[in-house]
């Protein structure tokens, strides 16, 4: 195909262009023409199509996401907020921590291993781009029914991809989720979170300032993989029939990324870059336009200088390629020699492809011909904004009327059967089959990982400063009430942090939904964002960034609304953390928080095929009092152990506690069925020495949190009222499920 230059575009205004095949709507194509005052060249069209995709432009979500700014919490802890590659939070002692979560859902369905692997790779580069050393990853995953044939295709590949990439990067995997629900069949969710740490002075931003500074592309060579990944793949609904989209999935090489990380950190340490951007979704189109808009806007790029894996790639393909493991840096001419020298040390390919100008346009040439001449902000930031129609779906009021009354155990035999069933059900069963495929030890700073309530890593070996991260979503509640569901997920993530003794500091999110073109889905999304923004404001936690993944639906069936909320907390001395379980007999077990008999959205109701009912209402004031209590108890070393209650209620929390160190417990419960299976939010089980029971009760009274003694630790069984469940039997039930399902 002949090169389509700016001159040709001017001379031939009526050439027909394949905008629809690239995922652009007619009115979007018209506004590109209006911006440029002519038709775009084919290269410009390629850039706009990927950058104006739902995935990159947030065109359907922007009007809602601005609440995170409007309802922003006043805090000094936030060093870099929404809009950069990742938010940055001050955690004290001169350290800054950056964390972010992103989705890689569609690619992981098409090609599970590579989709999941490059999901990890992408988020790690976002964190690196801020100037931070990546220190840990987490992966909330969601699949169709555990026994569905397609789950057996998708799950092993995704787990292996997460492990294969993360392990090879030397990043400990410190937690996540594995959840099964039929709505994720055909739309598995692969969310990946990365945490990084740096000193305040090391923060880097994506800006191309200073005319004459050089634009350097370094890392892997550019290939033909991932072309249109963000547009035709991530931003459209899967049709049950249609062409395979495999070429739109990127292929990753973690070794190249590991070397890129070490090389970049050495470059950062010598302060050799003015600005930096990784190449992820939308590749060079994104990196050049975002860097240029971060400065004055002027940049010249010679596209023919880009090193290629496949010399036959056209300029349009080079601009759209999402080949992994690439970075783009802005470097002062006086520092370029040292920059290239460090790249050479690490055997990293690096090429000067352009320079910053004092103009206002991004100009890209190919073999001397001008093929792109655009104001970069119009590509990177001034994309279309849609106020899409939204309407409360009819199901909401219907399911609210359903009576949720699954059978509840009363006799000893029923209690035992219930406990074994809860222990073995795929959503609550032991996840070692998954997490044993991830390296949790590398870097030598992992304090907590699965199955703890949160992941925790030490960031300073001398002072023992550490951070904790938890990700949570309760899609069952979000389905019943997306506003409350988002708040409840936030509360749960924060509680998980505080249970270990870390203070919640900041929030990130990954909002997974169906098609925004469906008014019902759009309503779920709007309600979720409103709930999260209100919740963060009330709890005083800033939102540092996030990610929206739409079009998670097949045909007209959307996934459950799944806002995954990540909360980061800080702990001054990781040695003082509160563990999730006890090693000693003779401790007293207490339940903090009141239990009600609403089973709507609970795992027990789900097991019995009941989806409806009314979600709990989030009481964030009570949650904050509970967090205060947990932190205060951690300071005075009151708890021998503390474990959060969430999906599966008290039943699964007790199971996890007794199995952790093989120390049993005797528990006495009134209304035993509800007590074990209700998922009333805002509850924690704690273990204390008998001599400290009074201190606990006084602390609970001080924070107005109900407290009740439920039992004592010891023995080799979990005894609940008259039911005796030997630990060996319980362990078998809890650990066999995944082995049976996945081999």
């Amino acid at each position: 195909m002949a090169l389509d230059t700016v001159a040709i575009a001017k001379a031939n205004p009526d050439t027909e262009q394949p905008f629809a095949a690239l995922g652009l709507k007619p009115d979007e194509y018209a506004s590109i023409k209006e911006i440029l005052g002519r038709r775009p060249t084919s290269s410009e069209l390629a850039m706009y199509s990927v950058m104006w995709s739902e995935h990159c432009s947030y065109k359907s979500s922007k009007v809602h996401l601005k609440q995170f700014g409007e309802k922003a919490v006043k805090t000094d802890a936030l060093l870099v907020g929404i809009g950069e590659n990742a938010g940055v939070v001050d955690v004290g002692q001169g350290y800054a921590v950056t964390f972010k979560i992103e989705s890689h859902n569609h690619p992981s369905f098409i090609e599970p291993y590579q989709g999941a692997a490059t999901g990890v790779g992408g988020i790690v580069r976002d964190i690196l781009t801020m100037g931070a050393r990546p220190i840990a990853v987490m992966d909330p995953l969601r699949f169709g029914p555990a026994d569905a044939p397609d789950t057996r295709r998708v799950l092993p590949g995704i787990v292996s991809g997460v492990g294969g990439y993360g392990n090879c990067l030397g990043l400990p995997n410190i937690g996540g989720e594995v959840v099964f629900d039929e709505t994720y069949l055909g739309n598995p969710l692969v969310n990946a979170l990365c945490v990084g740490v740096m000193k305040h002075s090391d923060i880097k931003l994506a800006k191309a300032a200073g005319a004459g500074n050089l634009v350097v592309l370094y890392g892997a060579k550019t290939g033909g993989d991932g072309i249109g990944g963000v547009s035709v793949l991530a931003s459209e609904t899967f049709e049950s029939k249609g062409p395979a989209k495999r070429p739109a999935v990127q292929v990753g090489d973690p070794f190249v990324e590991k070397v890129l990380i070490e090389c970049s950190l050495e470059i950062f340490a010598e302060d050799l870059v003015v600005g930096i951007q990784d190449l992820g979704g939308a590749g060079l189109s994104c990196a050049t336009s975002e860097l240029a808009s971060g400065g004055s806007g002027g940049m010249k790029v010679q596209l023919d200088k880009v090193p290629l894996r496949d010399p036959s790639l056209s300029p349009e393909e080079i601009l759209m390629s999402e080949s992994q493991e690439r970075m783009c840096a802005i470097v002062e001419p006086s520092k370029i020699d040292r920059f290239l020298e460090i790249c050479k040390k690490w055997d990293v390919t690096s090429t000067v492809i352009g320079e910053v100008t004092d103009g206002t346009h991004l100009e890209i040439t190919f073999n001397g011909e001008l093929i792109v001449d655009v104001p970069p902000r119009t590509v990177a930031h001034d994309g279309p904004v849609y106020n899409r129609p939204l309407a409360k779906p009819a199901y909401i009021d219907q399911v609210a009327k359903e009576v949720i009354n699954p059978p509840l155990p009363t006799t000893a035999a029923e209690i035992k059967e219930t406990i074994l069933k809860v222990a073995a059900t795929p959503n609550l069963a032991d996840k070692s089959w998954v997490t044993d495929q991830y390296d949790r030890y590398v870097q030598g700073n992992t304090i907590q990982s699965q199955p703890d309530d949160s992941g925790m890593v030490r960031i300073d070996e001398k002072t023992n400063l550490g951070v904790a991260v938890s990700t949570d979503a309760n899609a069952n509640w979000s389905y019943l009430n997306p506003y409350e569901g988002a708040k409840l997920a936030l509360a749960e993530a924060a509680r998980n942090i505080a249970t270990a003794g870390a203070k919640p500091l900041a929030v990130t999110n990954c909002l997974n939904f169906g098609s925004p073109e469906d008014p019902g889905v759009m309503w779920q999304f709007a309600e979720s964002v409103r709930g999260l923004a209100d919740g963060c404001l009330e709890m005083g936690l800033p939102v540092t960034g996030g990610n929206v993944s739409f079009y998670n639906q097949t045909g007209t069936t959307a996934i459950l609304p799944t806002p995954v909320i990540g909360v980061l907390g800080v702990i001054e001395d990781v040695r003082t953390r509160t563990p999730m379980s006890f090693k000693d007999a003779g401790l007293e077990l207490f339940l903090l928080g009141a239990t009600d008999d609403n089973l709507s959205g609970s795992e027990w109701a789900y097991i019995h095929g009941m989806r409806g009912g009314i979600a709990p209402t989030a009481d964030l004031q009570r949650e904050m009092r509970l967090i205060e209590l947990l932190l205060s108890a951690n300071k005075s070393a009151l708890f021998a152990a503390a474990h959060d209650l969430s999906q599966g209620g008290l039943a699964i929390s007790l199971i996890e506690m007794v199995l952790r160190h093989g120390v049993g417990a005797q528990v006495t419960l009134d209304k035993v069925g509800v007590a074990l299976l209700s998922e009333t939010p805002g509850r924690v089980v704690v273990a204390v020495k008998p001599s400290q029971a009074a201190e606990l009760e006084a602390l609970a009274t001080k924070h107005s949190i109900p407290v009740a003694k439920i039992g004592t630790t010891g023995g080799d069984a979990l005894v609940i009222n008259d039911a005796n469940i030997p630990l060996a039997e319980l362990r078998t039930a809890h650990t066999e499920t995944f082995k049976k399902l996945f081999g």
Binding site: C168, F255, K345, Y441, N445
Partner: protein
């Protein structure tokens, strides 16, 4: 006492190995794969990771790195050398110890707290342990199944060169539950599990891995 820790491109556990050396009371010295200089160290650790991305075969490319030439000569002369995980694979590829590490029998990467028995406590790296002492340290690899021919196996068993053996279920299909072996002289040890990740109970399953690092310091004093 200076203990060198080699970094290849793709090495991951180099900082962990250096930390373990410090915890044991030694001085850790960074060695770079591309630099044929041992910087006067008294012993060397080849740490875990995916050197050169495990391209071709694990350890196959690293063994040709410039640092390997003086290292192989020094080890043949008696200098203590420990290869952990990927380092074990490099030792096997360099023929400093016999056999090969192959894909785990179950074909999965496995990260677990593993019990091993120290069967030979006379090597430079295990003299802090008592004979047949059982310890728990992390095992984490995709290609940790030790294989060799019958004759080699007989020789290793006969000469007491099985330094450590897995206790309980075989985690990866290694012949005779082999977790680690030594060369004839006992100064070179290849070990699949990771003692450097078990130097305190805060970050590991316990501190029972520290003995490997105190052992070499003791060996050098002698």
């Amino acid at each position: 006492m200076k203990i060198g820790v080699v970094t290849f491109p793709g090495t991951l556990d180099d900082r962990d190995a250096a930390r373990a050396v410090r915890y044991a009371g030694g001085e850790a010295i960074e060695l770079w794969h591309d630099d044929a200089d041992l910087k006067g160290v008294d012993a060397v650790i080849l740490p875990g990771g995916f050197s050169y991305g495990d391209y071709l075969r694990c350890g196959a490319i690293s063994r040709f790195s410039p640092v390997m030439e003086p290292l192989i000569a020094a080890a043949k002369g008696g200098m203590p050398l420990l290869g952990i995980c990927n380092g074990f694979q490099v030792l096997a590829e360099a023929h400093l110890i016999p056999g090969a590490l192959t894909r785990n029998q179950h074909l999965h990467f496995l990260c677990t707290d593993q019990a091993i028995r120290i069967e030979n406590n006379s090597t430079a790296w295990t003299n802090s342990y008592s004979k047949d002492e059982e310890i728990v340290i992390p095992l984490k690899n995709g290609e940790g199944s030790y294989q060799c021919d019958d004759e080699t196996l007989k020789m290793l068993e006969g000469e007491g060169r099985i330094v450590a053996r897995y206790v309980g279920e075989n985690p990866n299909g290694s012949r005779n539950l082999i977790a680690g072996i030594s060369n004839e002289r006992g100064n070179i040890v290849g070990l699949m599990p990771h003692p450097e990740h078990a130097i305190d109970s805060l970050t590991g399953p316990g501190d029972q891995g520290l003995g490997f690092f105190t052992s070499v310091l003791k060996a050098m004093v002698k």
